[in-house]
Amino acid sequence: MNIKLNNREPVYLQIVRDFKERIAIGELEPGEEIPSRRELANRMKVNPNTAQRAYKEMEEQGLIYTERNLPSKITTDQAILSRVRDELLLEAVDTFVTSVRSINVPVEELLELVREKYTGNEDKEA
């Protein structure tokens, strides 16, 4: 829960992204209860109104749901969950492509390098 907040980006969107990342890697499971707005504000050291706004945004995107007075939970909607993963992946690739494009490297060479780095890292982590 310790994300480094960026001062120039809306805090509520940073919180939403953090949740998406944790959903994508399976740290947050479908149907799992999430902290109250108050707890989240406290843990992340953000304004409670901001936490509220993040939850509202996530509810609108269907990432979480709230029944009556029960704690909010992560959605169990498989379509939404897989969309989260795709979205994050696409975002990361976009960022990568944008920054690498300026180097003007042939795509084959780039892909080879990506393969090498990506699988190489996996070996190290394993």
């Binding site: 805090v11 969107l13 304004n47």
Partner: protein
């Protein structure tokens, strides 16, 4: 000079020393006479009853140094009908303070915490804090910042003054920039990030450095 601070929001008055931050708070508390203009609380002009709705936490503790923390709390209890002992006890725990300590023996950070405790333990709708972060160590600052994200502040209207916004950027709703007695800018911190991609400090830099 005009700005609005809403209930349930933390409004931060920012300006370098001497621009009139404390004067504004004093004026709200009728501690300083105002020549013109008006101060409305819940849409009503100030009257005696108003002060049962507001607490002012000055930048230095106003209790006698020889008092213990417990005595200072008793003193507040005697003076204010809005004193909430339960909350005071909770704050003691929150700040890890010792009731039997004398105020004169406290570190700067702990003195600031006692000062906050005495104000926040009052059941009031509005809290004014003058430089709650100034001149204390970073860990005490963090503990004090934690108050802002807790239920101890929830639903209250808070006005705080500061000259260094750095560590509380994510805690405040609204920013009022002051310069020499005038409001140079009033904005929502999250809006500035969302619409302009600017941090509070970025906006300040634009306003002050010209």
């Amino acid at each position: 000079m005009s700005f609005t601070a809403k209930k349930g929001e933390i409004t931060c008055l920012i300006g370098i020393n001497g621009v009139g931050k404390t004067t504004i708070l004093n004026a709200i508390m009728a501690l300083t006479p105002i020549n013109k203009g008006q101060i409305l609380i819940d849409g009503e002009p100030l009257k005696e009853k108003t002060f049962e709705k507001i607490t002012f936490i000055p930048d230095a503790i106003t209790m006698l140094p020889q008092m213990t923390v417990a005595e200072a709390m008793e003193f507040m209890n005697d003076f204010y009908t809005t004193w909430n002992q339960e909350r005071a006890t909770e704050l003691l725990g929150f700040f890890r303070l010792n009731q039997t300590d004398r105020i004169s023996s406290l570190s700067k950070g702990n003195t600031a915490k006692v000062n906050l405790l005495l104000g926040l333990a009052l059941d009031v709708d509005y809290v004014l804090m003058d430089e709650p972060f100034s001149g204390i160590d970073m860990f005490s600052r963090e503990e004090i910042a934690n108050v802002f994200t807790s239920h101890l502040i929830e639903n209250r209207g808070v006005i705080i003054t500061t000259h260094e916004v750095g560590d509380i950027e994510h805690l405040i709703d609204k920013v009022v920039l002051l310069d020499d007695g005038i409001v140079t800018k009033e904005f929502d911190a999250e809006d500035a990030r969302e619409n302009e991609g600017k941090s509070v400090i970025d906006v300040m830099r634009e306003v002050y450095v010209r």
